[in-house]
C-alpha cells in the first residue's frame, strides 16, 4: 500500500521523501589502487502532522508500516507544526542529469586515477599520491498529502587528488578536487595544473609575514570567510537570534563591492536542483547586493516561525558534509555565488606586494563560527614578497572575524571565479585585518 495512503489513515498531513543512490567509486592510496566499490541504497523518510504536531522518521530497508508507526509515535510527543505541507508542482526542469555519467565504467575512473598519479610523479617522484574518484546518480522523490510529486535524477562525478610530501619534520599535503554534474565539465587537466602549481610554489619554504599583512584567499581558501556566512544567513539562525545578521536586513553590513547570491538553478551547478528536499522550487536568492543584506534562506518551518516566505532551501544536510535521508530538512544554501571583480590571480599577487596566500586551512569550522570568528592553522599557504611567491609557509596561524574582514578589510575581489568544495562559485579575495602568527 502506498505510504501516503497508509499514513493518511492516521494523520492529517504527510510527506514522503525517497532517495535512491547508485554509483561506483575507486580509491588510489600511495599511487596504487586500493579499492573499487559500488553502492545501491534506498533511503526513505516520512514527516507527518498528527493532532497538529510534527513527527519525523527515516529508514533504509524497513517497511512502510513501521515507518508510519515511527513517525506517528514521534508526532505524539512533537511540537505543534507551524506550517502545512504545500501542494507540489512538478514545475520547471533543472539541468542536473547527464546520461554520460552513469555510463562511465569503472575502468575509466581507474584510468583517470592512474593518469593523475603518473602526471604528478613525473615532476615530483617522491610524493605520496592519493586519488578518489566517484560517479553516480541520486534519484530523489518528494510527495505529500496536499498533492503533487517532484521527482528528479541528479548525476554527480567527483575527483579528488592529494599529494603528500613527507620528510621528518616537514610534512605537507596539497589537495585539489572537482565535483560536477556533467561529465564534460570535469577538467582533469585544470585540476592537476592547480595541484602542480601549488607543488611548484611549495618547493621552497619561506618565512611567513606576521602581524596583519594582506592575505589573499584563493577560491578554496575563501571558505574561511564564507563558512560563517553560510551559518549566519540561515533564516533559522536569524530567528533564533544566533546570527549576527539578525535585524540587519537592508543594512550595509559588507563591503560595497561584495554581492552574494544563493542560486539553486544554475545549469549543472554542483548543488543545483529543481526542488529542495521539501519539494519547493529552488530559486535565485540574493543574500548580499553591493554590500547590503538582502535576504536569508528558509525552509518551511523557519519561514513559518519567522513569518517569512520559504525560499526553497529546505535541505537534508549542509553543503560541507552530512546529509541524506536520515536528516529532517533544515535551512541550508544551494550554490553560493560570489560576484567576481577584476584581475587574475597573478595580478592580485603582484598588487599585494608582501603578504600571505591561503589555499587551505586546518580546523575549518572550529571555534565560534556563529560570531564570525575564525582561527586556523594554514595547511597550504604561501609567502609573497615584492609581488612574487617565494615559497610555502609552515607553523602559521590566521585569525580574525569574517564579518569584520568582509566589511572593512576587502582590498580586492578577483575576476576569475571557480567552483570549490562542490558548493561555492567564488573568485579569490584579497583582504586585510587578518592576524597572522608564526613560529
Amino acid at each position: 500500500m502506498d505510504i501516503l495512503k497508509l499514513a493518511g489513515e492516521r494523520v492529517e498531513e504527510a510527506e514522503a521523501y525517497e532517495e535512491r543512490r547508485e554509483g561506483i567509486a575507486v580509491r588510489f592510496h600511495g599511487g596504487e589502487i586500493e579499492k573499487a566499490a559500488s553502492e545501491a541504497v534506498v533511503g526513505r523518510a516520512l514527516r507527518v502532522i498528527a493532532g497538529g504536531r510534527l513527527g519525523f522518521a527515516s529508514t533504509a530497508g524497513g517497511d512502510e508500516r513501521s515507518l508510519v508507526q515511527a513517525a506517528v509515535a514521534a508526532a505524539a510527543h512533537g511540537d505543534p507544526a507551524p506550517f502545512h505541507f504545500p501542494t507540489l508542482r512538478d514545475g520547471s526542469k533543472a539541468s542536473v542529469f547527464d546520461p554520460e555519467i552513469p555510463g562511465t565504467p569503472v575502468d575509466e575512473l581507474i584510468a583517470w586515477g592512474e593518469e593523475a598519479v603518473r602526471v604528478i610523479r613525473e615532476e615530483f617522484p617522491g610524493l605520496v599520491v592519493n586519488v578518489s574518484l566517484s560517479r553516480g546518480v541520486t534519484e530523489v522523490a518528494v510527495r505529500n498529502t496536499a498533492g503533487g510529486e517532484c521527482r528528479e535524477r541528479r548525476s554527480y562525478l567527483s575527483m579528488g587528488v592529494e599529494a603528500e610530501h613527507v620528510q621528518e619534520g616537514d610534512i605537507w599535503l596539497v589537495y585539489a578536487s572537482r565535483i560536477v554534474r556533467r561529465k564534460a565539465d570535469l577538467d582533469r587537466e585544470a585540476l592537476l595544473a592547480e595541484l602542480l602549481r601549488y607543488l611548484r610554489w611549495g618547493r621552497a619554504i619561506a618565512t611567513p609575514p606576521t602581524g596583519t599583512p594582506p592575505v589573499l584567499f584563493t577560491p578554496t581558501g575563501t571558505t574561511v570567510l564564507l563558512l560563517p556566512l553560510m551559518v549566519g544567513f540561515s533564516g533559522l539562525a536569524v530567528f533564533l537570534g544566533t546570527s549576527p545578521l539578525k535585524g540587519r536586513l537592508g543594512e550595509h553590513a559588507f563591503d560595497r563591492r561584495l554581492s552574494i547570491v544563493d542560486d539553486g538553478t544554475i545549469p549543472f551547478g554542483p548543488r543545483s536542483r529543481a526542488f529542495d528536499d521539501e519539494g519547493l522550487p529552488t530559486s535565485r536568492l540574493p543574500l548580499v547586493e553591493d554590500g547590503v543584506v538582502r535576504g536569508f534562506f528558509y525552509d518551511l518551518r523557519a519561514a513559518a516561525l519567522a513569518s517569512a516566505e520559504p525560499t526553497g532551501n529546505g535541505m537534508k544536510g549542509s553543503p560541507l558534509g552530512g546529509g541524506g535521508f536520515r536528516n529532517p530538512p533544515a535551512p541550508a544554501p544551494r550554490n553560493i555565488v560570489i560576484q567576481p571583480g577584476e584581475g587574475d590571480l597573478d595580478e592580485l599577487i603582484r598588487d599585494m606586494n608582501d603578504g600571505l596566500i591561503v589555499v587551505d586551512v586546518l580546523g575549518l569550522g572550529q571555534g565560534n563560527v556563529q560570531s564570525g570568528a575564525f582561527s586556523n592553522n594554514v595547511g597550504v599557504g604561501f609567502a609573497v614578497k615584492q609581488g612574487r611567491v617565494v615559497g610555502r609557509v609552515k607553523n602559521t596561524m590566521i585569525a580574525g572575524n569574517a564579518y569584520e574582514v568582509l566589511k572593512q578589510g576587502v582590498l580586492a575581489i578577483g575576476g576569475e571565479a571557480e567552483w570549490v568544495h562542490g558548493t561555492m562559485h567564488t573568485p579569490p579575495l584579497l583582504v586585510q585585518g587578518v592576524g597572522v602568527v608564526a613560529r
Binding site: I24, A36, A37, M397
Partner: protein, 457 residues
C-alpha cells in the same frame, strides 16, 4: 540473516569474502532555544560485502537483503577489475576463526524508554540552560541513542553477532551581549543505557554559566606560552594529534612516514605512556570484536616515551609484520572497516596540579575543546575556554584559545603529567575520510607543555 550470510560467504569465488549486515535502531531529540527541532525514532538495515581478489578489494553496499548473492558477485567482479592494476597486493594477516555472540550492557535499556520521557529529560536540561540568565539567547540540547546490531561472517569461518549500545547528550548554551555571541557546552557519551544521560542538571548549569562568563572574558593575545591542558583537552590532543598518525593504514604506502613512526623511536619524556584500549567499562570505543571479526586488545602506542605499537587492521598488520589489534572499525553498513581508535588515553603521571602551576610566570590553562583537526604532524585545536596563568596562579578567564603546532615537537615539550586522570565520554565522535561520527572516548590527566603556539588576534 545468519543463514544467508553464511551461505553467501561460502558460495563466493573470491579469495576472501566478508559480509556485514546491520540493523540499527536509533532515536534523537533536539531542542534549540524554545524549539523542538527533532524528535524521531527510526530503524535502518543495510549491508556491505567486501571481496579480495588477487590482492585488490571490491566492495558493494546495499539495502535490499534479497540482493546479497548478487552483491557478492558484484564485489568480486569489482575486485577482479581493480586487481589488474595492482602491483603491491593486499594480503591479510592470519587470525583464528571465531564464533561469538555479544550484547553490550545497559542498566536501563533505552529501547524501552518512551520517546516522551526522552523528550522530557532533554527539555528539562534545555529549560535549565535557558532560564539560567537573560543573557542566554539560545541553546542546543541534543539526545541520541543507537542500538547497532551487527552480524558479520567471513569466508574463513568467522561468525560474530554483536549488539552495541551508544547514548549521548549534548548540552550547549549560547550567550549574547550586544553583538558578541559566545557558546559553551558540556556533553556525555557512553556505551550504556538511558541512565547515562539522567541527572545532568548540574552540567546544564555549568554550560550556561560558562557561556555567560565568556562574554566578559578577553581574547588571549597570540604568542608562545607554557600551557596546562585539562584532562578533556589533553584527551582530544592525544587522540587527534597523535592517535591518528598511529593508525597503520596511514603508513601503509607511505614509506617516509613509516621511517618517522618506527617502533623504538623516542617521542617524549620517560613518564609519557599512551594507550589505545579496546575495552574500558562503559566506554564508547568498546566491542569485543572489530568489523573484521578480530578480538579487541590493549595497545601501548607510547611506553616510557618510546613508540611501542600501532593500531592495525589485518591488511596493515600483514604488510608491517605486526599482529592485528582489533582496530578495523566501520561507522556504519555504508562503509568498509578502516583502522580507527577505540578508547585512547595518556596514562597518569605523578605531578599534582599545584606542582604544574608552580614556576609559570605567564601561561595558559586551556580547557576542553570545541574542535580540532590534524594533518599528519600539524595540529590545531580550539579550547572551549581557558584561564591565564599569572605568577603561578590561575588568573582571569580568556577565550579564543587556539593551540597549534607540530605533534612531535609538542610531545617532546611535555614537561609534566598529572596524577589525576579522567576518561572522557563525550557526545561527539571521530571523523576519518568519509566516516563520521564514530563512537570513541579519550582520556588523560592534566598535562603541562612548554612553548606552545597559541593563535589569537
Amino acid at each position: 540473516m545468519e543463514a544467508q550470510l553464511r551461505e553467501a560467504v561460502r558460495g563466493s569465488r573470491a579469495d576472501y569474502t566478508e559480509v556485514r549486515w546491520e540493523e540499527v535502531f536509533r532515536s534523537r531529540v533536539q531542542f534549540q532555544r524554545d524549539q523542538l527541532l527533532a524528535l524521531e525514532a527510526g530503524e535502518e538495515r543495510g549491508g556491505i560485502v567486501r571481496a579480495l581478489v588477487r590482492g585488490a578489494w571490491g566492495i558493494a553496499v546495499f539495502t535490499d537483503p534479497a540482493e546479497l548473492p548478487a552483491k557478492v558477485r558484484e564485489a568480486t567482479e569489482l575486485a577482479r577489475t581493480a586487481s589488474a592494476h595492482v602491483q603491491d597486493p593486499v594480503e591479510l594477516s592470519p587470525v583464528d576463526p571465531v564464533e561469538a555472540r555479544y550484547e553490550g550492557e545497559m542498566v536501563r535499556d533505552f529501547r524501552g524508554v518512551p520517546l516522551e520521557e526522552k523528550r522530557k529529560v532533554a527539555q528539562g536540561y534545555n529549560r535549565a540552560i535557558l532560564s539560567y540568565s537573560p543573557k542566554i539567547v539560545a541553546t542546543s540540547v541534543r539526545y541520541t541513542d543507537t542500538w547497532r546490531r551487527v552480524i558479520y561472517a567471513n569466508s574463513e569461518g568467522t561468525y560474530v553477532e554483536q549488539g552495541i549500545p551508544d547514548v549521548t547528550m549534548m548540552l550547549a548554551a549560547v550567550a549574547r551581549k550586544n553583538g558578541d555571541i559566545q557558546q559553551a557546552f558540556e556533553s556525555v557519551g557512553w556505551a550504556a543505557g538511558f541512565e547515562a544521560v539522567q541527572n545532568l542538571e548540574e552540567s546544564a548549569a555549568v554550560a550556561a554559566k560558562r557561556a555567560v562568563d565568556l562574554l566578559a572574558a578577553k581574547p588571549l593575545p597570540g604568542g608562545h606560552y607554557t600551557v596546562i591542558l585539562d584532562p578533556k583537552l589533553a584527551g582530544v590532543f592525544i587522540h587527534e594529534a597523535f592517535g591518528h598518525i598511529c593508525e597503520a593504514d596511514f603508513l601503509l604506502r607511505n614509506e617516509p612516514l613509516r621511517r618517522v613512526l618506527r617502533i623504538g623511536n623516542r617521542f617524549g619524556v620517560e613518564t609519557l605512556n599512551v594507550v589505545d584500549d579496546g575495552y574500558i567499562p562503559g566506554a564508547r570505543g568498546n566491542a569485543p570484536y572489530d568489523d573484521e571479526g578480530v578480538p579487541r586488545r590493549k595497545v601501548y602506542l607510547i611506553q616510557k616515551g618510546v613508540l611501542s605499537g600501532l593500531m592495525h587492521s589485518r591488511a596493515t598488520a600483514r604488510k608491517m609484520g605486526a599482529e592485528p589489534t582489533g582496530n578495523a572499525r566501520a561507522v556504519s553498513w555504508e562503509h568498509e572497516p578502516i583502522v580507527r581508535m577505540r578508547n585512547t588515553f595518556i596514562e597518569p603521571g605523578d605531578a599534582t596540579f599545584e606542582e604544574m602551576l608552580a614556576g609559570i610566570e605567564h601561561g595558559v590553562y586551556a580547557c576542553a575543546a570545541f574542535g580540532g583537526q590534524t594533518e599528519f604532524e600539524q595540529f590545531t585545536f580550539s579550547a572551549a575556554y581557558g584561564y591565564e596563568i599569572v605568577g603561578g596562579k590561575i588568573g582571569p578567564m580568556v577565550r579564543d584559545v587556539v593551540l597549534t603546532g607540530n605533534v612531535f615537537q609538542t610531545l617532546r615539550n611535555i614537561e609534566m603529567i598529572g596524577r589525576d586522570f579522567q576518561v572522557e565520554g563525550s557526545a561527539g565522535g571521530c571523523g576519518k575520510g568519509a566516516q563520521a561520527p564514530l563512537p570513541v572516548t579519550d582520556g588523560a590527566p592534566h598535562v603541562r607543555i612548554r612553548d606552545v603556539t597559541v593563535g589569537g588576534r
